[in-house]
């Protein structure tokens, strides 16, 4: 996410506007990547990210092959590298990789000449999530001003107060979002119990980190909730889910403390009753489903940039 920079993010957002429009057509499909093959390699459970990438690829008319470690040769003892090289030999143009270990997508990129998209690696990064969050925030900000998102740049992010609440330490989403939002000029505050904040804020371009959610809420434009990553052991860092909810869950009472214009985001999957109360999850200002819709458009933009726009022969 850091490599992309503010200009790169703005370029992806501009391109994804085009795909938001494509999604609204009677036939939401364009032939841009006809004949290309995208392989999704997900070694962690995922519904939305995988479906989102597959939908994005199909809407660009690319073919999609997918595999997961269970029910594939990895279960028979083949190394990841051999699997990747085997699939690449079948003629795959792009790998979409999710893995429980940080750095796997970068490593896969070294093994194959195909493009590789990181769809989440361990605690490290989840760049397309950060991009779709930026797209959603930009859309909401534009609409608040009565404008269309495609007529705006990323200038509205300057000084935007974003509060990221929850399991920051184990969250690749938080890491990518912090870098993306900071690059665009937003001021990010992390809120979590001390045990779930990163051990050191070195390398985190954030304005502040605190454990007092109630104090921060009135000064929040975007409230970003994170799921407690119990599969990464986050449950051991809090005394109990009840206690976590009491201190850090966005209850209806807390949601009322947010300014009227504030928007609530969540990367999903939401656990209602823990980090977000059920009635808050259904508020109109909660843009979770919009995030999902934008996810397809943003991933179409990413795939198109990798497979369609940038491949230029040396002599052209």
């Amino acid at each position: 996410m850091q490599d992309l920079g503010a200009d790169g993010i703005a370029a992806v957002l501009r391109l994804s506007d085009r795909f938001v429009e494509v999604a609204q057509r009677a036939i939401p499909k364009v032939p841009a990547l006809r004949g290309r093959t995208v392989a999704t390699l997900f070694s962690e459970t995922s519904t939305r990210t995988r479906l989102s990438f597959e939908t994005a690829a199909r809407r660009l008319s690319a073919d999609v092959v997918s595999f997961s470690p269970t029910g594939s040769s990895i279960a028979k003892g083949e190394s990841l590298r051999d699997t990747v090289e085997t699939v690449a030999a079948m003629g795959v143009d792009c790998f979409v990789v999710r893995h429980a270990c940080a750095g796997v997508p970068a490593q896969v990129a070294g093994w194959t000449g195909a493009s590789v998209v990181n769809a989440g690696d361990g605690w490290h990064e989840h760049p397309t999530q950060a991009l779709l969050d930026c797209a959603t925030i930009r859309q909401v900000l534009a609409e608040r001003d009565g404008r269309r998102a495609e007529d705006t740049g990323t200038e509205a992010f300057a000084g935007l107060r974003v509060t990221i609440v929850g399991d920051v330490a184990h969250s690749r989403v938080a890491r990518s979002d912090v870098h993306a939002l900071a690059a665009l000029g937003a001021s990010v505050t992390l809120v979590a119990p001390g045990s779930l904040l990163p051990p050191s804020l070195a390398g985190w371009p954030v304005a502040a980190a605190t454990s007092d959610l109630d104090a921060v809420l009135p000064d929040t434009d975007v409230c970003y909730l994170l799921r407690l990553q119990t599969e990464r052991g986050a449950g051991a860092f809090v005394p109990s889910l009840r206690e976590y909810t009491a201190g850090f869950g966005l209850t209806a009472r807390r949601a009322d403390r947010l300014p009227e214009h504030a928007v609530i985001l969540h990367p999903g999957p939401m656990v209602r009753g823990v980090e977000i109360a059920a009635e808050v999850a259904d508020l109109p200002r909660t843009a979770v489903l919009r995030q999902v819709a934008n996810g397809v458009a943003v991933r179409m933009a990413v795939l198109f940039l990798l497979l369609g726009a940038e491949e230029v022969p040396a002599d052209a």
Partner: protein
Amino acid sequence: MAERERKLTPPRGGAFVPRVQVLSAADVHRALTRIAHEIVERNRGLEDVVVIGLQTGGVPLAYRIGQILGEMHGGAHVPVGTLDVAFYRDDIGIRPVLPQAATEIPGDLAGSVVVLVDDVLFTGRTIRAALNALSDFGRARSVQLAVMVDRGHRELPIRPDYVGKNLPTRFDEQVDVSLEGVVLGDVVPR
């Protein structure tokens, strides 16, 4: 997509150096007025006519044609839309292709008479892409093509219905079209 921008897209790009002014702003306006009259003549009126400008060069021309058509028919509203064909091009992966601007099609095109408007007709590949794109917005009753300049060098069996100016060119020349006029020039590598 405007031909000029296509050529100016890095890494192939260069600077456009104008050589001859072929049409003045008044000439362009007269040509668009004639094209508008021809559209009415050919279609015996304006029923079901939708004018669609190709991004980016055709868009100002399309809006001007729509305006002239409206004035001819006592302020009738002629729907005008825009279309970016980037995702339908056949040279994706051969050269950098990026959408330039928005696609806005007014309503469903099923049963309508679509007049595509572009600035320069060259190889015909943009129009091929546009025809494919249009079919995703509904089955138009007919599709007609209006261009400001037909410069030859077709690579596909495509022919315009309305032409502002036939302009024989060398393949490597460059035609710049705007409402301010038509200029023939060259692209000089930077």
